[in-house]
């Protein structure tokens, strides 16, 4: 589904990603973890075509990313940014409807089909009741679900999420990931999420990738990956690892 080959990205002043090679199969639920500044968000933005790599290649469905038009890419992948703020007072419905943009031409009026897709996306993320509300007045959890619905309205095969739950409380974190898991099963999505919450990632994600200093230092299932040695090496913290009593997934404690 997603394949990265020798991907390098530099900011004008410093190198960031060094020769990233990664294969993300269809239907994965992958978490990218790593310290601040390790290049996690940049990696997502490269896959979404928001940033462009200096060298290396990204393939989506075996096709190089640079051969995709912006619209075609937006039909294939949806993106939930880390912060979403707007100064203008759009309603939740209007924000989710923007997800139909890659399917619309300038002259076409809104089609009934678009309205159905928007409605379904909002129901799937449980924000349908908020449709008339102005997004500037929504809570953090509601806003994130609206932005997720907007990405879903693109009918994507891939969802890319950049720390989607960092600003949310415990209930909404869990709730958000539950929605993601349901979506993945029902819509056959491939999900890549960047997160700082290792336990949340361990609980929900099947695969993990650990980034440090712009390079992949480990990848595998949470059970394989989350060890005292790895956390010490990557995050420079001494931790204890326990097993989740319900599903046996590893949990990290200070």
């Amino acid at each position: 589904m997603i394949k990265l080959r020798d991907l390098c990205f530099d900011f004008p002043t410093q190198p960031l990603l060094k020769k990233i090679n990664l294969h993300i199969p269809r239907h994965s639920f992958l978490a990218i973890i790593g310290p601040n500044g390790s290049g996690k968000s940049t990696l997502l933005k490269l896959i979404m075509g928001i940033l462009h790599p200096q060298s290396g290649e990204i393939f989506l469905n075996q096709k190089p990313l640079r051969e995709f038009s912006r619209k075609r890419l937006a039909q294939l992948a949806g993106y939930v940014p880390q912060h979403f703020e707007t100064i203008f007072h759009f309603t939740a419905w209007e924000i989710v409807s923007m997800g139909r943009h890659p399917y619309q031409s300038p002259f076409s009026s809104a089609r009934v089909e678009d309205a159905h897709i928007v409605e379904n996306a909002m129901k799937a993320t449980e924000v349908w009741h908020l449709r008339h509300r102005v997004i500037n007045h929504l809570s953090g959890g509601e806003l994130q679900r609206v932005v997720l619905a907007s990405a879903l309205a693109q009918n994507p095969q891939i969802l890319l999420l950049d720390e989607p739950t960092t600003a949310l409380d415990l209930k909404h974190q869990f709730h958000f990931y539950n929605i993601l898991e349901t979506l993945r099963k029902e819509n056959n999505l491939t999900i890549v999420t960047v997160t700082h919450d290792i336990n949340l990632a361990s609980y929900f994600c099947e695969q993990m990738v650990v980034l440090k200093d712009g390079a992949i230092v480990a990848e595998g299932t949470p059970e394989q990956l989350i060890t005292q040695e790895l956390i010490r090496e990557v995050f420079e913290v001494e931790v204890e690892i326990y097993q989740h009593p319900r599903n046996g997934k590893p949990l990290v404690f200070f």
Partner: protein, 332 residues
């Protein structure tokens, strides 16, 4: 029918009423029957005043008001800044410097119906747009904030240059300069209008086509990219078109203030930020509003013609403040 359609219809009716009503009002009131008789081929003096003097002025007001409001909407959306106006990137400052230099030099000629001051003002704005364009071309690496900062810096630079001109001028020149800077709708012929209206319609049409993209762009740049919007292309093209339109009307009417700021905000308060509604509505409301302001400017202490630039702010300022205060909940 939804609120937005109702507002658009209301704006259209308002524009039509000002278009027909304003030329009848003035130091001499005109009777509609006399005007109709002129249309039927009779040389009435009232018809002459209507068609030769007042109608061109009203049409210029529509063109200027509509252009400034349209540019205001687009600047606010693209710069994602509620304080943005058509003049944020320095277009008016550049125009003023051009116009005032010619006034100072005492050059007077006219080409194709445009005076030396108008031509110099347009040249000044073109120069500014070129600078903005060079900056906008670097938008791949420059942020919108950098662009705004560059615009503000340009404005300071132009203000300082204008102050030097003022300082070196005598009273007559200074008087002329201040009159230009306030902005006014002095008599223009139909030729000037015929030369500028088509450009306005082209820009309006392009912006209307882009209105869905403006919606996405006005939220968040990265989100817009992820929704398939050609961000850099649309930003560069729209900033230049909006600047060109602003430069054109400023060259003819001077930097009339406030319209480009409040008309878009007023309409957002009433019907929300959807550009499919905002663009046509602000064109009509902006056009009508400037006609109204100009009619007041012409009549309030007739036979003296106050410059319309003063009236737009004197009239619009308190009204908009009242709206902001009355509006429940935060606006921005």
């Amino acid at each position: 029918m939804n609120t937005k359609s109702l507002i658009i219809i209301a704006c259209a009716i308002f524009l039509l009423m000002t278009l027909i009503g304003a030329p009848l009002i003035g130091s001499q009131s005109l009777s509609p029957t006399e005007v109709v008789r002129y249309l039927q081929g009779e040389e009435t003096s009232q018809g002459l005043i209507f068609f030769r003097i007042r109608l061109p002025r009203v049409l210029l007001a529509v063109l200027t008001g509509a252009s400034l409001s349209l540019a205001g909407v687009v600047f606010q959306a693209l710069l994602r800044n509620p304080l943005a106006t058509p003049y944020t990137l320095g277009v008016a400052g550049g125009s003023a410097l051009g116009a005032l230099s010619v006034i100072k030099a005492g050059i007077a000629f006219s080409i194709a119906g445009f005076s030396a001051v108008q031509l110099a003002a347009f040249a000044g704005s073109l120069l500014t747009i070129l600078l903005v364009y060079l900056l906008a071309m670097r938008l791949r690496r420059l942020s919108i904030h950098t662009l705004i900062l560059a615009g503000v810096t340009l404005n300071y630079f132009f203000s300082a240059s204008i102050l030097i001109l003022h300082y070196l001028s005598d009273f007559t020149e200074t008087h002329q300069m201040i009159r230009w800077t306030i902005g006014g709708l002095d008599v223009v012929g139909y030729i000037t209008l015929a030369q500028t209206f088509p450009f306005f319609f082209i820009v309006f049409f392009i912006f209307w086509i882009l209105s869905k993209s403006f919606n996405v762009l006005s939220t968040n740049e990265e989100l817009a990219l992820s929704k398939g919007v050609h961000v850099t292309r649309i930003q560069t093209m729209s900033l230049i078109l909006a600047s060109l339109l602003t430069g054109t009307v400023v060259a003819i009417s001077g930097p009339i203030g406030f319209i480009g700021l409040i008309i878009p905000h007023l309409l957002r308060l009433l019907g929300g930020p959807d550009h499919r509604y905002l663009i046509p509505a602000s064109v009509m409301l902006g056009g009508g509003f400037l006609v109204l302001a100009d009619t007041i400017a012409r009549t309030i202490i007739a036979p003296v013609n106050l410059p319309v630039g003063i009236i737009t702010t004197l009239l619009g300022g308190p009204f908009f403040l009242w709206l902001l205060v009355r509006n429940k909940g935060p606006v921005y």
